[in-house]
C-alpha cells in the first residue's frame, strides 16, 4: 500500500489525458508505467511528483495523501528523460543540491553570504561522506568537481540518479531515464537501476515505452493506452495472461499471433483443422475467438502433417541464438495492431535452415494459448 492512486483523472482543457486510473503498489515494488508515446505515462508520473495538478482523484504515498502538496513536500525524487542537471553547478553541487535545499534559509539569497553558507553545508563531513558514497556507487568519484557539460551521456544520467539517491526519498520517479543512451549503455544502466532498487528499497515508478525495460525491471507493470490502464499485473501475468488483444500485441518481440478460431465442443477449429483443446482451456459452443499464440509456441513440421496448419514461409531472419520466421497466413484471418502486420510469426532456437518460399506445417502448442473475444478483444478464461 505504499503508493495508491484512486480515480485519478487529468484533463488539459478539453483534452482528457488520464481517464480514470486506480492502482495500488506495495512498499518495495518497482512499478513500470508502460505504453506507446502519448498515452499519458509522463502526465501520470508528473502528477505523482506534483509537477502537474490532478483534475480529480487522490494519490497516497505511505498512507499520506499527497496530491494537494507541492513537489518539495512529497518526499519523492524525479529523474528526467533529459537529466535536467544544473549546468552551472559542479557534479558535487548537483548531487548536494537537494540536501542544501533542505537546510535553506531565506538569507541564503544574500549573494556572498549564501555562497559561503552553501559551501559550508557542502563541506560538512556527513554530507561529504554521503556524496562520496553515492559517487562511488555510481562511478562518479573522478568527475565530482567537473561541470555536466564535460560529461558523457551515461555519466550525466548517473549524476541525475545520484541527485535522486542522496535524498533517500520515499519514492523514486523516473521518466524514460535511459532513452537517450545507446543500446549497450542502456542495458548496463538497466541492471544498475535494478540493483539500486534492491539495495535502497522503497517504491520506484518508472516510465518507459520499451517493453523489454518494463519486463526486465518491473515487479508490477501498468500498461496504458489512451489514458486508460489496459492491464495491471506482474510481468509474468502480462506476458502469459494478457487481458486483451492490445496487451497481447504490445508485449513480446515479435508479439503474440492472433488467429481467428472457433470453439467446437472439446475442439478448436482453425481454418479446416480441428485441434483438441486441453483440459484447462475455456469452452464455448461455436463461439468465434481470437486464438493468441506466442511465436515460440509454434513449431514446424511437414506441410502435410495431420493437426498442422499448412503455411508458406515469407521471411527468415537469423538473429544468432534464434531465428524468426514469417508465414503467409493464407486464408486464415489474423488479428493485428496499428502496424497492420498480417503474418504469422514463429521463432525457433538456433540457426534455421528453412528458406523463404518453403511450404511447412505449423504445430500450435495450444496448451500455452490465450483466447480473446472476437469483438471486444477481451480475454476469455
Amino acid at each position: 500500500m505504499a503508493l495508491r492512486f484512486q480515480n485519478i483523472k487529468k484533463k488539459f482543457g478539453d483534452l482528457t489525458v488520464i481517464r480514470d486510473i486506480s492502482l495500488d503498489v506495495g512498499d518495495d515494488d518497482f512499478l513500470v508505467l508502460l505504453g506507446p508515446s502519448g498515452c499519458g505515462k509522463s502526465t501520470l508520473l508528473r502528477m505523482i511528483a506534483g509537477l502537474e495538478e490532478v483534475t480529480s482523484g487522490e494519490i497516497h504515498l505511505n498512507g499520506r495523501q499527497v496530491e494537494h502538496l507541492p513537489p518539495s513536500d512529497r518526499d519523492m525524487a524525479f529523474v528526467f528523460q533529459s537529466y535536467a542537471l544544473y549546468p552551472h553547478m559542479t557534479v558535487r553541487r548537483n548531487i548536494t543540491f537537494p540536501l542544501i535545499m533542505r537546510e535553506h534559509k531565506w538569507w541564503f539569497h544574500i549573494p556572498l553570504v549564501g555562497y559561503l553558507a552553501k559551501r559550508r553545508i557542502e563541506a560538512r563531513p556527513d554530507i561529504r561522506e554521503l556524496v562520496a558514497i553515492t559517487a562511488q556507487t555510481l562511478g562518479l568519484t573522478q568527475v565530482l568537481d567537473k561541470h555536466p557539460r564535460t560529461l558523457s551521456g551515461g555519466q550525466r544520467q548517473r549524476v541525475a540518479l545520484g541527485r535522486a539517491m542522496v535524498r533517500q526519498p520515499a519514492a523514486f520517479l523516473m521518466d524514460e531515464p535511459l532513452s537517450n543512451l545507446d543500446a549497450k549503455l542502456r542495458t548496463a544502466m538497466r541492471a544498475e537501476i535494478g540493483r539500486l532498487h534492491h539495495r535502497l528499497g522503497g517504491t520506484f515508478v518508472y516510465v518507459t515505452h520499451d517493453q523489454v525495460e518494463a519486463m526486465t525491471m518491473g515487479t508490477r507493470i501498468a500498461l496504458l493506452r489512451g489514458g486508460d490502464i489496459q492491464q495491471f499485473g506482474t510481468p509474468r501475468e502480462i506476458y502469459e495472461r494478457p487481458a486483451n488483444t492490445y496487451v497481447a500485441r504490445f508485449i513480446g518481440t515479435p508479439p503474440m499471433n492472433l488467429i481467428e478460431a472457433q470453439f467446437q465442443g472439446n475442439s478448436l477449429r482453425i481454418g479446416d483443422r480441428l485441434l483438441r483443446l486441453p483440459e484447462t482451456a475455456p469452452r464455448g459452443d461455436d463461439r468465434k475467438v481470437w486464438l493468441g499464440i506466442r511465436p515460440d509456441a509454434i513449431s514446424l513440421t511437414a506441410a502435410d502433417a495431420a493437426d498442422a496448419l499448412p503455411a508458406r514461409v515469407t521471411l527468415v531472419e537469423h538473429a544468432g541464438a534464434e531465428s524468426l520466421l514469417a508465414f503467409d497466413p493464407g486464408n486464415l484471418r489474423v488479428g493485428h495492431d496499428e502496424d497492420g502486420q498480417s503474418e504469422i510469426m514463429a521463432s525457433q532456437s538456433g540457426y534455421s535452415d528453412i528458406a523463404a518460399g518453403d511450404r511447412v506445417g505449423l504445430m500450435l502448442d495450444i496448451a500455452q494459448a490465450s483466447y480473446f473475444d472476437i469483438d471486444s478483444g477481451l480475454r476469455i478464461d
Binding site: 511528483a49 506534483g50 509537477l51 507541492p70 513537489p71 518539495s72 519523492m76 525524487a77 524525479f78 528526467f80 528523460q81 533529459s82 537529466y83 535536467a84 542537471l85 544544473y86 549546468p87 552551472h88 543540491f97 537537494p98 535545499m101 533542505r102 535553506h104 539569497h109 561541470h147 555536466p148 557539460r149 564535460t150 560529461l151 551521456g153 550525466r156 541527485r163 535524498r167 537517450n180
Partner: protein, 275 residues
C-alpha cells in the same frame, strides 16, 4: 580557392566598416593632440602630437569635466541597477507563467519604445515638476529606466525561454522556492544575457541627452552629454579641449563595456539537459 577569396573579401569588408566606425574617434584623438595654431593651419595633422598631451590636463582644470562624468556615472549605474531590478521578475513571468492579458502586457511594453523621447519630454516635464523630480539625478534615473526596462525585459524573457523547464522542475522537486529558482538557477544561467542588458541599460543612462538637457538646470547636476554639447557654438573654447573632453567622455563607457563583455559568452546552459 573560391572560398579563400570570399574569406579575404569578408575580412576587407569588416576592416572597411571598422575603419569607418573608428575614424571619427581617431580624428578626435588627433585633434585633441594638436596645438591650436596648427589646428587652424591649412593642412590637418594625420598623427597626434605627443607634446600636446597637456590638453587633457587643461581640459580637466578649465571645464567641470569631472563633475559631469560623475553625474553621468551615477545616472548610468542607477539606470542599470533599477532597470535590471525591475525587469527580471516580469521577464520571468512573461516567459514562464500564463495569465490573462499576458500578450497585451508584452506588447504594451513596446509602446514606450514607439514614442520618441522628444514627444514625451513635455508631459514628463510637467509630471516631474509636480513630484519635485526636476533638477535631480533621481528623476533622470527614473526617466531613463522607463526607456530601458521594456527592452531589458524582452531580452531577458528571450533568454529565460531558452532554459529547459525540466531544470526548474528538478529544482522544485529538490525543494527550491520560486524566488530561489530565479536567484539560484535562472539568473546564473542567463548571466551572458544579463551582461548584455547591463551594457544596454548603462549606455541608455550614459548617452541620454534630451531629458538631461531639459530637466536639469543646476550646473552642478549637469551630465557629460549635455556638458559636451554646451561647447558647440562657444567660440572661446578651443577645439582641442572639446575633443579631449569628448574622448574622456567615451573612455569610461568603453572600459565598462570591456569589463562586462567578458561575461557575454555563449554556452552557459549546455550540458544540463540532453538535446
Amino acid at each position: 580557392m573560391n572560398r579563400s577569396w570570399a574569406f579575404h573579401f569578408r575580412i576587407l569588408a569588416v576592416l572597411a566598416v571598422l575603419g569607418i566606425a573608428a575614424f571619427p574617434v581617431y580624428w578626435m584623438a588627433v585633434t585633441s593632440m594638436t596645438s591650436s595654431e596648427e589646428l587652424f593651419a591649412g593642412s590637418p595633422r594625420l598623427l597626434p602630437d605627443p607634446a600636446q598631451i597637456g590638453t587633457y590636463a587643461r581640459a580637466l582644470v578649465s571645464t567641470p569635466l569631472l563633475t559631469w562624468l560623475g553625474n553621468s556615472l551615477i545616472i548610468a549605474l542607477g539606470t542599470t541597477a533599477l532597470s535590471l531590478l525591475l525587469a527580471i521578475l516580469p521577464a520571468y513571468a512573461l516567459s514562464r507563467m500564463s495569465f490573462r492579458g499576458k500578450l497585451l502586457l508584452a506588447l504594451g511594453l513596446f509602446v514606450t519604445q514607439m514614442l520618441p523621447e522628444a514627444m514625451l519630454v513635455v508631459p514628463l516635464y510637467d509630471i516631474f515638476s509636480r513630484f519635485a523630480l526636476l533638477d535631480s539625478l533621481t528623476g533622470l534615473i527614473l526617466a531613463n529606466t522607463a526607456f530601458a526596462v521594456p527592452v531589458v525585459t524582452w531580452i531577458l524573457k528571450g533568454a529565460i525561454d531558452g532554459i529547459p523547464t525540466e531544470i526548474e522542475e528538478a529544482a522544485r522537486i529538490d525543494g527550491c522556492s520560486r524566488v530561489g529558482i530565479v536567484l539560484t538557477i535562472v539568473l546564473p544561467l542567463i548571466a551572458p544575457t544579463l551582461a548584455a542588458v547591463t551594457v544596454i541599460a548603462f549606455f541608455q543612462g550614459w548617452n541620454e541627452y534630451v531629458f538631461a538637457q531639459t530637466f536639469i538646470s543646476d550646473e552642478s547636476l549637469k551630465v557629460a552629454s549635455v556638458g559636451l554639447a554646451s561647447f558647440v557654438g562657444e567660440l572661446s573654447t578651443p577645439m582641442d579641449t572639446v575633443t579631449a573632453v569628448g574622448l574622456t567622455y567615451t573612455l569610461p563607457a568603453v572600459v565598462f563595456y570591456l569589463l562586462v563583455q567578458r561575461y557575454i559568452v555563449a554556452g552557459m546552459t549546455s550540458g544540463g539537459v540532453k538535446g
